[in-house]
Symmetry: D2
Subunit: 334 residues, 4 copies
Amino acid sequence: MAANKPFRIALIGAGRIGKVHGMNIHQHPDTVVHYVVDPHAPSAAALAETLGATVVDPDVVFADDDVDAVVICSATPTHSDLIEKGLLSGKAVFCEKPIDLSIERVNAVLEKTRDCTAPFLLGFNRRFDPAAAAMQERVRAGDIGDVELVTVISKDPEPPPAEYVRVSGGLFRDMTIHDIDMARFMLGEEPISVVATASALVSQEIADENDVDTACLTLLCESGKMAVITNSRRASFGYDQRIEVHGSLGSLRTDNVPSTTLVLERAEGVRRETPMHFFIERYEQAYKYEWQHFVDVLKGDCPASPTGVDGQKALLIADAAYESLKTGGHVSLR
Amino acid sequence: MAANKPFRIALIGAGRIGKVHGMNIHQHPDTVVHYVVDPHAPSAAALAETLGATVVDPDVVFADDDVDAVVICSATPTHSDLIEKGLLSGKAVFCEKPIDLSIERVNAVLEKTRDCTAPFLLGFNRRFDPAAAAMQERVRAGDIGDVELVTVISKDPEPPPAEYVRVSGGLFRDMTIHDIDMARFMLGEEPISVVATASALVSQEIADENDVDTACLTLLCESGKMAVITNSRRASFGYDQRIEVHGSLGSLRTDNVPSTTLVLERAEGVRRETPMHFFIERYEQAYKYEWQHFVDVLKGDCPASPTGVDGQKALLIADAAYESLKTGGHVSLR
Amino acid sequence: MAANKPFRIALIGAGRIGKVHGMNIHQHPDTVVHYVVDPHAPSAAALAETLGATVVDPDVVFADDDVDAVVICSATPTHSDLIEKGLLSGKAVFCEKPIDLSIERVNAVLEKTRDCTAPFLLGFNRRFDPAAAAMQERVRAGDIGDVELVTVISKDPEPPPAEYVRVSGGLFRDMTIHDIDMARFMLGEEPISVVATASALVSQEIADENDVDTACLTLLCESGKMAVITNSRRASFGYDQRIEVHGSLGSLRTDNVPSTTLVLERAEGVRRETPMHFFIERYEQAYKYEWQHFVDVLKGDCPASPTGVDGQKALLIADAAYESLKTGGHVSLR
Amino acid sequence: MAANKPFRIALIGAGRIGKVHGMNIHQHPDTVVHYVVDPHAPSAAALAETLGATVVDPDVVFADDDVDAVVICSATPTHSDLIEKGLLSGKAVFCEKPIDLSIERVNAVLEKTRDCTAPFLLGFNRRFDPAAAAMQERVRAGDIGDVELVTVISKDPEPPPAEYVRVSGGLFRDMTIHDIDMARFMLGEEPISVVATASALVSQEIADENDVDTACLTLLCESGKMAVITNSRRASFGYDQRIEVHGSLGSLRTDNVPSTTLVLERAEGVRRETPMHFFIERYEQAYKYEWQHFVDVLKGDCPASPTGVDGQKALLIADAAYESLKTGGHVSLR
């Protein structure tokens, strides 16, 4: 397996997604979790023990020349500073989306780190889902001819708690942004305008925050290609994650993934299992492949993708979608 | 079977869809095709022979008190006059969509026949597809709670010939109108605005006619419910006809129907059959159920549905969708 | 449509399956039901009225030179005599399976009609199911290489009434015989032995008749190819009719057919519709294609298939399967 | 995570399946691989390094009181001795199937270790597949009423090399034994007889070894319940692993699992991905759940299952199936 010394990783954030990445880093033959950082001391200690790592303050991470890469899984408002410190200290950075909820702050990060040569990978995890990745490969290989219409269906199993909604940046910046990235990934051409239609049908708390929970976005490219995203904060049957790409020679589709293929046939109907409940289970493999990609990047085998620019472009579209809710029409992205 | 004398039907139009209705009328125990009308004499004669009917001029139809109902399958520009003559002569009328491509003419027909007591059924055939009908029943029965988001995916196998495009009224009035009706059928609430995004990606001929062939429409209701329609004039794999209704307690979906369930598993993949090629095969059952509904109407067992008002409302939305292409935004339907 | 005079058909038997064939004959442009025969006068009269036919005694049928073909849908014990009379009077014969429950009587019919030139089609309807027919075509075309293992899964929705069981000839001669024919159709080689394992698990009435209701048969060919048939008289979820053919290059499978593709997704599971309830619905298309084949035979376009020999061979295997239940081992078919 | 010291595991065998178990042991928070044993020194060294374990001779394992359990993944002829040594030295034992290819040797192992209190888990991995486990739970919960007919379809993607065939014990003892165990798992009642039909259709090498590669087994229980197993050594499309249990109230089925849900629709057909290629991928999760079960056993939370007796009973049936090939009939298992 690993012929050389494994890459030393500093993991910042020991919450739910931090644990997922921590275990993947730990289990990968080419990487070890060297440091764990989290302001919540018991979480940091517990995860560090499991991973055989040391708990440190963030400053230790950026000062240690033996740290090869920083993985940022902390709260959103901390992302931009940590990305800057990591890249400016010459370390590779893998950061969970988003860079920041403010496009100005995102622009500033990209500006400030423009000359950094260390790679930066932004965690749009779904690009690494085996089905989505295979789909995009086939699209690029021309299996369906020219892309004409991309459809992304994305529904969460249940709305987030009110306190999360308050700091989430809203449906488009928090949830739809993944679907916007997926649409860009499949379109292969930048959208030039977006129109959004949305309502608060699911949750009074979301309505009280002046946010929406049910939405449709249409993205239009200069060539006439388009993408349609439909969202809901609640699918009672589980995490609804489907993609379709329609082209001149055919279509590609991905379906939801049930936990098993078990089928029960009785007089009242034929019953299959519901889709996996949420992203931790549904994208378990995607997180592993995402880590493998980052290892390949660390080895110099390929450039990081998606990057900060992908985060920036998706956020611009999300912002424009909110603008569209006010104007009632297409908002230009140029 | 039929205890009484079967209803006498005059069939106007002996083309492709006229033959479908003609055979269904002929095979139904409670109805007979009495007259066939078509300006193309050989077509009229051939169909009349098959059905054991008599070829006549249209005036004979409206003057004959023994004709119970008129079925209109002729060219679109003839529909509105024939509907008026039929209803004003006291006959039940079943007319293929549309009433007319002009909303003014449609309004005039509805105005002129307002006091007619004879029933009028407009041929939005898809409402009678067993899957769509069962879906709508379950929606109304509350199986998925409150409707939040309706999705209608509708793609033709190939673009129509240029000469058809020219007289079709355009994508929205010709093809999308079926999907608009389906969205209204499932929403259970009138849309208050529509926004459309569209391109001509499939056919240069369609572009040359200043029409579009690839489109997305979003319909919004006052309650915040919405419907999304995606269209293409070309799906290389066959007629793509799917509906989803997402509600507070779950979702209902219908899939495409392959001609058989045969599966071929080989090293290079698992291959199933493509969806049925086009509407004549796909909606064969729907046309039979549609005719059964009209027979039920003739017997007085239930009111006709959909009616001229449904045609009127769908056309208003299609017109507004074209307006939206110009304005780039939501167009009010009120 | 029909350029010439349609073929005149005498329909013997006005029960459930007689009505199915009667309607198909009536609706086919090249055939008309001329006579209806049934000892139960009201059934004969009702069906004859629907079909525009005349009720007669059987002797009239065989004496009328204008009758082109006889369709036998009467009770099983009458089949063999009627087949003989029909073929010996020079008429084409289409008879519902079986020829007879006694192999001696079947042999006698084949012997007696050996020199008849009129065609004889035996109603193994499933061969005409579009999925089964397409499967067999692909098997013969070599899509899966050499056939190695055929699997026929066949379960009725519920056990027949005791009075039917008593005269049915038993599970193997009544129900399994269809699956035996299907196995022969797919194998493309005659089995040389059969072993059966069976129980009465479903119905005490069946046990009381010393019959079985749950069974597995294995048929072995000289080349080593084999076929496996599993049966039950009760599938609570509907008629379970599936076929698989496994070959050196892949497999072909057919699935059950639900009445619609409607899917309901809720927290408790993803529910599809059950398979069509029983053979009248499930094989509606097969009966139409079967009739089309018989019309092609009447026109001289192809030989009838399956024939009396197919019925004879299937019955020999069913008889051997009963023998196997006694011996506990493979019974030779040579 | 692990509150106490993790269990120390000695892993015997560093081949393909040894690596699978080694990684699962390593990644489980409650277990560590302490020793690795393999006569092939480079394999032992490489795996030990990955797992942070020490390479030792087998005698060290059994003499070390700090070893909690032995996991046996070595060549089949070594299993029985190692099981005896492990259990007699008081260690828990998890052994890949089979205990031995000779029923006499298996009987001797069970006899000799009868009084051992340390648990013994036999590696019938498929019982731990999430779909199979859920199926068996539902069967036991009565969701389909009384079990009537179990069907196990099991085909390998390709035949093993001749040298493996030679020492495998033959199709029934090597491959079918998994399906026999699955049938017993689902039946919930011991079979009293078995009949087998088999051929060598796939591989001349297998024929040359006087073995078979295509087979059907029928198992019969005293109550009349039965199970049918169909096998092939070659499914060109991948590992074909399906189970059905038919009962008085319905059926349960499991399907094959494709690597992703991607669907490609083009004019020539609708293509899905093939099933996962072979057992390492297909049962990846099963191996993890199997290990979790063994950890639960080590903790004293539940008894080990399946055990040596399950191995013994499955081998008795496999032996009887070979006897049936000679006699051509059902062979009693009592």
